[in-house]
């Protein structure tokens, strides 16, 4: 019996290796304009 189902997610520690290109969108810009969240942003790194 498997008690834990791990959902496929981005490995945040791994993302440090080639991260930080800065191409992704600024937080609330082009969208809600009144709150900040980065979880719903797309990674736009083309050098991964």
């Amino acid at each position: 019996m498997k008690h834990i189902k791990t959902i496929n997610t981005k490995n945040l520690c791994e993302s440090a290796k080639n991260g930080g290109c800065g191409e992704c969108q600024t937080s609330c810009q082009s969208a809600c304009k009144t709150s900040c969240g980065i979880a719903n942003q797309q990674c736009e790194n083309t050098q991964k």
Binding site: T6, S27, T34, Q41
Partner: protein, 460 residues
């Protein structure tokens, strides 16, 4: 650090620092809750006690479950330590001086007179004004000159109501398109509009040139017309809805947000979401009002509880619509667990005042649209660049570790420390914490992740 919660049919465990998400059964839920700080024997006996009398939960089950937790911990997917603090300032340090996005305040005036407007009917507590082509052109040149190696440059046409100065919007886009190739850039434009001046020309332009359009609609007619009125006091719902429908139909699948605001008048905002869906819109955003404390539209503590329940019901509605084959999106629930931002982005905080700035009709630079009119935050102008380096430093040092309250928060890598403007307006400091905003943000994340878990589970 972990965060556990139950929502719908799921028991969910989030591992903050690895970003791992686990859907667990009730035995694992208890084992994980007791795991840190207790010996193996203690955990096994406490869990056995909890499930005493349950024939379906054997001692062997509990042991097996405990071993799975140990395994996940060893793989770095549970109780992962936070080793990111030394990286917190790195991204901004590395990109110091690079600007990649501007919010152009094309018109500090508006054809609607919404009392809840954070921009005081588009005037930002100042004079009415519109941006000239010369100022806008210089702003675009400033952006290119300061964008370093960034290829994607974002420009928002914002106001007030930008369509009150539509010719300048069109001329600026034509100018940007004429130079982007030779400069090695890709401009992405967004238009935010209240819809009053939308016509075929606007529709054609927006759908051809704008990566995104943000269309202001509060949902139910009586809710929308309560605040979104013209200067004669007439509601705008009946005028704008047919225009928005035409625009969205013609959009051909390009992004848009039907964006509403909820206030003390409609904490039951799910009803407004349903109206938007009935009108045929399916890319939705609904935001809590941003207003001064004591404003009549401010959400009360009682409203907050209603709002949290609405967020849960919204998540359930999304799953229901998924099953009907009529999916819709909600801005705050668009979480991409496998392709979201890297850790640098997650800890660096909002880019306001550094990579993102707002430009007034006069060419002044502010850290973002929500700071326009706050004189002490004026950073400089598009001709001389940033001259108020002290204010800019405050924003450059703003990251998730700059907020002491965020250190123990499970949601910190989903919000990146929150909105600097909300923090400033509620605490007087950009590194403060807007508590009620956090409360709603955390609820939204729990709901968004539950929806993502359900979708991932069904895909399999």
């Amino acid at each position: 650090m972990i965060h556990q919660y139950k929502l719908g049919e799921y028991n969910i465990v989030l591992d903050t620092c690895s970003g791992s998400v686990h859907a667990v059964d009730e035995v694992a839920y208890e084992v994980i809750a007791l795991f840190e700080g207790n010996s193996r024997d203690t955990v096994l006996s406490l869990v056995a006690e909890k499930f005493a009398g349950r024939e379906d939960v054997t001692a062997l089950d509990i042991e097996e479950c405990y071993d799975q937790v140990v395994e996940l911990k060893e793989e770095g997917k549970l109780f992962a330590p936070d080793n990111f603090a030394p990286m917190a300032g790195k991204l901004k340090e590395k990109t110091a001086g690079v600007v990649k996005a501007l919010c152009l305040h094309i018109a500090h005036t508006c054809n609607l007179n919404c009392s809840y407007c954070f921009a005081s009917q588009g005037k930002y507590h100042g004079e009415r004004a519109i941006m000239s082509f010369e100022v806008g052109k210089r702003a675009l040149d400033f952006l290119i000159e300061n964008s370093g190696k960034r290829r994607n440059l974002e420009v928002d046409f914002f106001g007030g109501e930008p369509l009150m100065n539509f010719q300048v919007v069109k001329d600026l886009v034509a100018y940007a398109r004429s130079i982007e190739k030779e400069k090695g850039k890709n401009f992405r434009f967004t238009l935010t509009t209240n819809g009053v001046l939308v016509d075929d020309d606007v529709i054609d332009f927006a759908n051809r040139e704008c990566e995104n359009v943000v269309l202001s609609l509060d949902g139910r007619k009586e809710i929308h017309d309560r605040f979104r009125v013209d200067y004669a006091g007439n509601g705008s719902f009946d005028r704008i809805v047919p225009k928005f429908r035409k625009l969205v139909e013609a959009r051909g699948g390009k992004n848009y947000y039907m964006r509403g605001t909820f206030t003390h008048a409609n904490p039951d905002f799910l009803e407004d979401i349903k109206v938007m869906l009935d009108l045929g819109f399916n890319e939705l955003s609904m935001e809590p009002v941003v207003c001064a404390p004591g404003d009549p539209s401010e959400l009360t503590p009682e409203d907050m509880e209603i709002v949290k329940k609405q967020y849960e019901d919204l998540a359930f509605l999304m799953l229901e619509k998924d099953k009907e084959g009529k999916p819709f999106t909600f801005y705050h629930y668009m979480i991409d667990l496998t392709g979201g931002p890297c850790i640098y982005k997650r800890i660096s905080g909002c880019g306001s005042g550094t990579e993102y700035m707002a430009v007034t009709p006069w060419g002044d630079l502010y850290p973002c649209h929500q700071f326009v009119g706050e004189e002490k935050f004026k950073l400089g102008n598009i001709w001389d660049g940033v001259t108020n380096t002290e204010a800019q430093c405050e924003f450059a040092s703003c990251n998730v570790y700059a907020h002491p309250e965020c250190r123990d928060c499970w949601a910190r890598l989903y919000c990146s420390g929150g909105c600097a403007a909300n923090a400033y307006h509620s605490t007087g400091s950009v590194t403060g914490v807007y508590k009620s905003g956090c409360e709603l943000f955390k609820k939204r994340m729990e709901c968004a992740i539950m929806v993502a878990v359900d979708r991932a589970t069904r895909e399999e």
